[in-house]
Amino acid sequence: MTDDIHEEKLKELELKAEKGRELLIKTLLEAGSGHSAGPLDMMDVFITFYFHILNHDPKNPDWPDRDRLVLSNGHICPVRYVVMAMAGYFPIEELKTLRKLNSRLQGHPHRTALPGLETTSGPLGEGLSQGIGIALAAQLDKKHYYTYVITGDGELNEGNIWEAVMFAGKIKLNNLVMIVDRNNIQIDGFTEDVMPLEPLREKFEAFNWHVLEVDAHNIEAIVDVINEAKSIYEKPTVVIAHATPGKGVTFMEKDFHWHGKPPNKDEAKEALHELRTLRGKIVSEHQA
């Protein structure tokens, strides 16, 4: 159902992304542990997918013809949970149970715990292969849904990723789109210090993939790039989504220390204040 996006819808999605960031900060504060930077920087991508790109039905999460969104870097699952709740998969109130006993919202996503998750993930490097399996099953069943796989960038250190990239290139898999959260950080520091990935575009191209790049915070551009990715049918496509880690909360942005921890009460207050002010800014920009 990916269509070009009109101005009003665009504004609506941008507002949703800000609302999502607020919910995310509250959810992380309540959980008391978890990751901040990645979920914040993928908010615009998840909002765009759940509210514009994906062909899905929150009331019928097992619908066989739905598009599949596979989250490989499972640690950023709070962003998925928040956006799924906003989309109607489960009550917003349930976000408070994240990482707590008897919750469907496991610290890393578990497929059989919550309808609408396509895979179980957390240990890195495994989502692209799972997405390939889902895409192959679609081809065998002659189904037309798309499989989208979101991976981290630090995750590309894993050998399993390149096994999968090699295989998808070999079979010219064209009903799968990979999106790399290129936020340049991982737990031990900046990706180019820990284990350099560049030249990343050339690496994928060498494995016979089509490579696109996008600003992960420009919703209109995200819509366009996915449309373009779906028009490529002679090879698999990867979208390198350049993201600012911690996007939307200034003191978290571009600081790898925020990769793997939640805000405390004071930090959450500061973050929420900023997000609410920012929301006003976006509205006024569109009015101008």
Partner: protein, 331 residues
């Protein structure tokens, strides 16, 4: 004597009796499934021919995926296929799968409750000359601890075909263990096979010990039982073709009168079939036990029959273990 109810191969003790590798049963079983279930798909990590998956690949090229030498990729692709309604059989050597890709399987297939069938080939010390790098002797231990998995270890090629076919009958993930070389065919097409049921292959009026054996080692146990009977030590020999779910009722029934146990497997004794039986007996009915298998050591290169003898896993070792448990029982 051999249990007549099981319609076993009457020539199984003959020197020139029929022999076949259990992996051949995987190949024909998988082919049968391909013909009868359109959802069955197969994957290989560059070992299609030696795992006999090539029979399926040749007949059903559209349902066969060659992933190259990448066992983690094979595991997670299988999981993706399985959550989308397919029944993937993934073939490799057991050292690599479920060895090298253990965590990938744990997360994407087992915890994820994906209907994946892991075919671990060239298991045990039977890869002989290749040396310990290729001898999977820990695979039962590392899969048995997974919640929700089933584990089948067929004793011969005929049972291997039945086990392969049966594995598609459950939506649980299954680990199937196969071996490389030709070994005696002990069962026939008419021998009943049921997942989760132990079978008493060797029976006697007043057995004094129970020998539980799994895989091709069952033949060593049967030879030992035959010789022990002539020496005045009557035993029961039980085929443990399913290690998980464990046939607890069978263990109780087959040890109720003997009250002494020897387990026999081509695997480390730590965590294997013997451990599973010991865990159950320890909490229900502790009995004198001996464990035949690798005793916390890696094996080495050599003809596998000679490795069996050097590492005290053969007929002689089984007989001596039986005499030991009977003596301990009488103390």
């Amino acid at each position: 004597m051999l249990n007549p109810k099981l319609k076993l191969n009457p020539k199984l003790f003959d020197k020139d009796g029929e022999q076949a590798p259990t992996r051949a049963g995987y190949g024909t079983g998988l082919l049968y499934l391909g013909e009868n279930n359109p959802n069955v798909v197969a994957l290989s990590a560059d070992l299609a021919e030696s795992t006999h998956a090539h029979l399926f690949a040749e007949k059903f090229p559209d349902r066969f995926f060659e992933v190259g030498i990448g066992e983690q990729n094979m595991a997670a692709i299988s999981a993706g296929l399985a959550v989308t309604g397919k029944i993937p059989f993934m073939s490799s050597y057991a050292t690599f799968s479920p060895g090298k890709n253990w965590e990938t399987l744990r997360t994407t297939a087992i915890y994820n409750k994906a209907n994946v069938k892991i075919a671990g080939h060239h298991a045990g010390i039977m890869t002989g000359p290749d040396g310990a790098t290729h001898q999977a002797t820990e695979d039962i231990a590392i899969t048995r601890c997974w919640p929700g998995i089933e584990i089948y270890v067929p004793c011969d090629a005929i049972e291997a075909k039945k086990a392969t076919i049966a594995s598609a009958g459950t939506s649980n993930p299954v680990y199937l263990r196969y071996t490389r070389d030709k070994t005696p065919v002990m069962t026939t097409e008419f021998t009943p096979f049921e997942v989760g049921k132990m079978q008493d292959f060797w029976i006697t009026d007043k057995p004094e010990a129970t020998i539980f054996a799994t895989g091709y080692m069952l033949h060593y146990a049967l030879v030992a039982a035959k010789e022990l009977e002539e020496e005045g030590f009557p035993t029961l020999v039980v085929n443990v073709a399913t290690i998980k779910p464990l046939d607890e009722e069978g263990i109780m029934r087959f040890t109720g009168h003997t009250k002494a146990v020897v387990t026999v497997e081509d695997h480390q004794v730590a965590g294997g079939m013997g451990s599973a039986i010991a865990e159950f007996l320890a909490k229900t009915n502790p009995l004198p036990m001996e464990f035949i298998g690798l005793q916390d050591t890696f094996a080495e290169s050599g003809p596998w029959q000679e490795i069996i003898e050097k590492y005290n896993m053969g007929t002689k070792a089984i007989k001596s273990a039986v005499k030991k448990v009977i003596a301990r029982k009488k103390k």
